[in-house]
Amino acid sequence: MPNAGQLNAGTKEMQIKRSRSFRKELSRNRFLYGMLVPVIAYLLLFKYGPMFGEIIAFKNYRLADGIWGSAWVGIDNFVKLFSSTDFYAVLRNTLVLNVYHLVFAFPAPIILALLLNEVRVEWYKRTLQNLLYIPHFISWVALGSIVIALLSPSTGFLNYVLELFGLEPIYFLADTFWWPVSFIASGIWKEAGFGTILYLAAMASIDPTLYEAAKIDGARKARQIWHVTLPGIRSTIAILLILQVGKMMDVGFEQVFVLRNNAVSSVSEVISTYVYTRGIVNLQYSYTTALGLFQSIIALILVIAVNRIIKAMGERGLW
């Protein structure tokens, strides 16, 4: 017994020491910690606070009863979700679009950054970069109508070119095969340019002597890229890949919403649009919150898994 008391006293002393040193640390770096306060407040207020609302996934939420007042229904919403055919269709569409994205859209900024990195004429490079960034700053609502006009079978530029080669015009946005292609391509158009920023920054930090050494060893441009540039940005690619996999269960709402139409709903209904129509428009809040919760959990599992894999491959992961 006295032993335990001593132990307690010991830990208490340590706790006091620790809190004292923390206080010291706090007063020493008070500006830095002060600057952290708004960010923590933001996270608590807008990211952690709303999580409380997730409990309506286990309730039958009615507007009148509110979050607390609504009746508990256990996992009924999940049972309903997993037994509905809609669920599998939107899950499939979401995953398919994201796999396409990972295969085609994810490497696009890397390739673009590699190309930009080799441009030696400074003013040309800057102009090119600026032109590539522009689409990122235009909202999907505006870009969507440009895409629709560009892909129009009768007046669109793309079909005009096809016709020059004697090909039949294609109604890209009303065809279940071409719609995902158009979707990914328009996404690349909007975001690839802006995505190069991080890679270019990473490339700028590569030690120039490495290139010189490679040159002396007789490496040409392609070899230099393969053996110096790419390994130099490996860790950046790894981090962005983890982040991308975290979005695996998510397709941006706006882009789908502007580009979809009746003819392609079988491939264009994704989790975000489904949550919108079922939850927000049709007031089935609990049902769609259950879907959202499911989506988040899968995304979390994916992020953890990919982080493990990347660490096993010898890269630094997210944590």
């Binding site: 407040a41 007031l283 089935q284």
Partner: protein
Amino acid sequence: MKTNRVHGSKMVGLIVLIIMLAVTACSGNNGAPANAPSSGNQQKDNNGNSAAPKKVSISMFDRGQVSSDEGTYEENRWVDWIREQSGIDVTFAPVPRNKAQDTLNIMIASGQAPDLIWEYDRNYIGRLVSQGAIQPVGEYIEKYSTSYKKYLEENPELVPYLTFNGEMYAVASKRAITAVANHAMWIRQDWLDELDLKAPTTVEELVEVAKKFKEHYPDSTPIVGGNKSDIYAALNGASFNHWYLEDGKMKFGATLDRYGDAIALEKQLYDLGLVDREYLTDTTNQRSNQLWTTGKAGILLGQWSNEPLNRDLLTTVPDAKPVPLEAVSTKNGHYGTYQEAPPSFFIAFSKDMKDPETAVKYLDWLMDKGWYTLVNGMEGTHYEMVNGVPKQLDGAKFEKEVRYAAEYAVLRQEGVKAEDLPLKAADDPLSQQVAQLSAAALNTALLHEFRRDIPFQPNFDEINEIRSTFDTFLNEIRAKATTQGPKYTAEWALGEIRKEWERLGGAKAEEVANAWYEENKSTFE
């Protein structure tokens, strides 16, 4: 060291200030509706009486019609006028028209709903009832109202529309015939004359005329318009989202043979190249409007109230003669295009409403006299009385200063007739010509009754549940059958639609609808 500390506390102060600003900015965003619940603690004047005006808030459709020099939907000349005339401090909470229901839902869920919430869609009010977001109004009307109570006694046919689960949950006034008629068809008389054709009276003739148009004007698109699919269905007497009585049993429109005929018509016109091949992606009707207003289309399947489009057409192609086209008959009968049911705006009372008495007083004021000025503008400035009809003095001025105000008048006693439209319009020849056309179109649209077997649609969770999946499926199947060539026929589409309906539990929905019909049919007469 000391200066450093002073500096530090200033820094902390600055950060605190930034956070506070951020937080207040967020709550400031809530805008008008957030003010409403705070009406309880309004200041009292020096005498201690609560002489401050009574407050009420009401939703509003933002159609983007208020020009910037007029102000906003929240603050403009009419809002000032309403407050001054009614003596009630009314605040308006605009919601974007094409996202009205979801925006309202979010406002309600986050406790920012205005006191009065309105929609044209009775089903939406029904959903709010089952969500418990609104409260019964019968007692308030009984206790506080004079004008509306009287109006309701004179127009008892409104009562069933306002009743949900046996209680009155909304107030509404009757639509004028200008608001009852909705969809309509237009045709270019000059094209008919040029080809020596008569206006089509059957759907077969309609197709023939369109074909002739295409032959004679190869660059044209004979048939355009955003209401195409709805009109094909209405002509066949089977709107997809309406219930019909087939041999005394309730059946859902989309599952009927007649609806299959509508799909067949849509497909036929598409296959013959008589419609814009891209109308699926033309969700904003931009292409369609452009084709009509530049004189490149022969038949418009749109609305009777087509003034802006006709005005543009007559300006770009002065020789054009757009005329209303009477609904054509099909093998299923001779039905009109879509018309609205009698009640206009359904106005519901939020469950959190603080002051129902003021709300009822405001509605009474609108019903009595407020609506007239909001619809017609100021006498002497915007209109003058000619033969008992308010006549616009200046069309352009009216469009800019008064047009948007009409939707503030959610209760009206409007008795406008088709003949009044030219009398109300401004004097310039174009305004007169367009108004004459509208008057003719209104009469034409009302010649044939839109098929409606029951006055309003049953509203049950079983049905809503099915429809949230079914509607998407239906639209896709219809698009597929129309555009994907001879492999996919209308019969195939109807077969798929019925299969999906069965799979989703359509039989159960029909049972529920039938039970509802049997229970309520006595009130439908």
